[in-house]
């Protein structure tokens, strides 16, 4: 009896030691996620509060715990400023035990936070930013570029439009890194598909009156006017192109258009436009189910960026579970090893360069007559398979060489 008791006690202690050992695997006894996004600026509709809600949903749907330790979501506004973003990241990693930073909308903030994360050996899960250098010359071993990039937008919209007969192009470009990358990527695709670029104009960012640029685009005689901009700039350019009757003879190609843009433009203005997206809420039963839950909380349907935040975090939690630790190196290895198949991504795989390659969709905006219910905005015209949608790993990224 006495012996049995001591055995039990010993067993109990062993179990306790066992759990203590497991606990030690999760740093700080908590898995802490920082959603660093644009809460009030130009991109706050396509990311912002919606991204925070998506992150909270991901944590709740995972049971609020991973490896028995609570998941905590915190958030902050980086104001689309690189210095603000890197300062917050530093503070989060150093003082607040943040394990991973999610979203990072706008390329300048993403590129500022990535080296900080790499230096601290913590993870960045980029959903909002688009520039290809993120997985190219600026890539790090601790980053995942999850939702989309400028290359996939260029391939999707650029190639589709050329194939439909839009051979000659003129670009209206937002005069900063993102706009220029988007223009360069799209030009390559247009030329490779047999099209021709007739010219471009670089408009200061932000611009509200596009009439001068639209007149220049009109004078170029190009069939297609490519809008290498985003957010409010795209919205105003599309609105004014309609006003100036440009859309009667020439067509617009919005190279980066989000669901939130279409929602605020309205279908009468946006109808017929082609765009590329990583996610559309009404694509199938699974995406609808998740999106309706999101809608309950946010009162708006999710953009691809917000859905991407949810999916990237779920994948991250799964990787922690599979690795049995939140150690960044081991979790990154698992994330790159495990495929992604959920409501967001089909055939998803994260490459050595950190780019998440998955199927993308070419969509066309419905006319008001085709739209049957609220948020019924897109027709999915084509699925672009992952190998076609994203560029192959670029050896300029050191992780690829290894």
């Amino acid at each position: 009896m006495r012996r049995a008791f001591s055995n039990m006690a010993l067993g109990g202690i062993l179990i306790l030691i066992g759990t203590a050992a497991a606990v030690a695997q999760v740093s700080g006894d908590v898995v802490k996620i920082g959603v660093l996004t644009d809460m009030t600026g130009a991109y706050s509709d396509l990311a912002g509060q919606g991204s925070v809600i998506a992150a909270q949903m991901a944590a709740e749907d995972f049971g609020g715990k991973v490896l028995g330790k609570p998941i905590v979501i915190i958030s902050a506004d980086h104001q689309n400023k690189a210095d603000v973003a890197s300062n917050i990241a530093r503070k989060w990693y150093d003082e607040e035990q943040v394990d991973a930073i999610a979203d990072l909308v706008s390329s300048s903030t993403a590129l500022a936070v990535m080296p900080v994360a790499a230096e601290k050996k913590r993870i960045t899960l980029i959903s909002g930013a688009a520039s290809t250098p993120i997985e190219g010359e600026k890539c790090t071993a601790y980053n995942v570029h999850y939702t989309y990039n400028t290359y996939s937008m260029a391939v999707g919209t650029g190639r589709a439009v050329v194939q439909k007969g839009g051979k000659t192009w003129f670009f209206i470009v937002a005069d900063y890194v993102f706009g220029k990358t988007l223009e360069a990527d799209t030009s390559k695709v247009v030329i490779a598909s047999g099209g021709k670029v007739l010219g471009d104009v670089k408009a200061p960012f932000p611009t509200t009156d596009f009439s001068s640029y639209l007149l220049q685009a009109q004078a170029s005689g190009a069939q297609i006017i490519g809008l290498a901009n985003a957010g409010a700039d795209t919205i105003n350019a599309i609105k004014q192109a309609n006003e100036f009757g440009i859309t009667k003879k020439q067509s617009l190609a919005g190279l980066l258009v989000f669901l939130s843009d279409i929602h605020s433009l309205g279908l009468p203005v946006a109808k017929g436009m082609y765009l590329t997206t990583a996610f559309y809420w009404d694509r199938n039963g699974e995406s609808r189910k998740w999106s309706k839950r999101f809608f309950e909380r946010h009162k708006k349907m999710p953009t691809m960026v917000q859905a991407g935040v949810y999916s990237s975090l779920t994948h991250y939690f799964n990787a922690i579970k599979a690795a049995g630790t939140d150690d960044a190196d081991k979790v990154m290895a698992k994330m790159k090893q495990m495929p992604v198949n959920d409501f967001f991504a089909r055939n998803g795989h994260i490459g050595a360069d950190g780019l998440h390659r998955h199927d993308m969709y070419l969509a066309q905006v419905k006319s008001p007559a085709e739209s049957k219910y609220p948020w019924d905005y897109y027709k999915i015209v084509k699925t672009i398979p992952a190998p076609e949608a994203f560029q192959p790993p670029d050896p300029i990224c050191p992780q690829v060489k290894k």
Binding site: T40, S211, L265
Partner: protein, 288 residues
Amino acid sequence: MIQALSGQLLVGLINGSFYALLSLGLAIIFGLLDVVNFAHGAQYMLGAFVAWMAMQYLGINYWSALILVPLAVGVLGMVFEQLVLRRLYGLDPLYGLLLTFGLALVLEGIFQNAFGISGKSYPVPDLLQGGTNLGFMFLPRYRMWVVVVSIAVCFGCWFMIERTRLGAYLRAGTENPVLLQAFGVNVPLIRALTYGFGVALAAFAGVMAAPIYQVTPLMGSGVIMVVFAVVVIGGMGSIAGSIITGLGLGLIEGLTKFFYAPASDVVVFVVMALVLLARPAGLFGRQL
């Protein structure tokens, strides 16, 4: 080349008439009240949003909005003047500037919270749909309307303030309020009306802008910088100066967009710096 250039000049004129309309209200408020109204951009935004809400929730069309919205927003302006702003008269203008800047932030914050950053789309009224082909460019009918109305309103205001008895009272209210009051004129009421009128002009510009630009919470903060430059170049408080400068800067900006687009958002400020170097009181301002 000539064709393209005439198109750009015309577009410049259209934008210029917007600048003139907006800077007019600002110049009136500064010229007659000595208040630097930093909330002018937010009040312009308010005009556009109230027009959108009136259409969405009350079914009020563009034409009625053009009259009703400036009245409503103008009254709000007067309430603000009566409750808060008037307490700062006679102090350093910096206080008024800070107060109105705060008001602008509050207004923008409220609308951003309610409608998000991408804002709402306001349709062009049916009567002004379409446009005319001028050969060198397609001129939308709505833009033509903007130019005509802006110039008419600007001239009307200038005439009222500089050439009528009411205008004389208004100007006297700044020059010597005590004496004017002694003549039995209700100076505080005149001041409230003046501020309300300036605010109503901003709201009027907002309604005019709604069908062209996306109605967003920050639509005023972008344009207000340029408009301030217009007022400074024209000569703080000079009404005719603001109108002429507004149109002129629109043209200069239009040309810049044609020859070297990336500089188009700084050209206004370059002009401002040059003018201030040569004439510190602005082109039409009274020399200090």
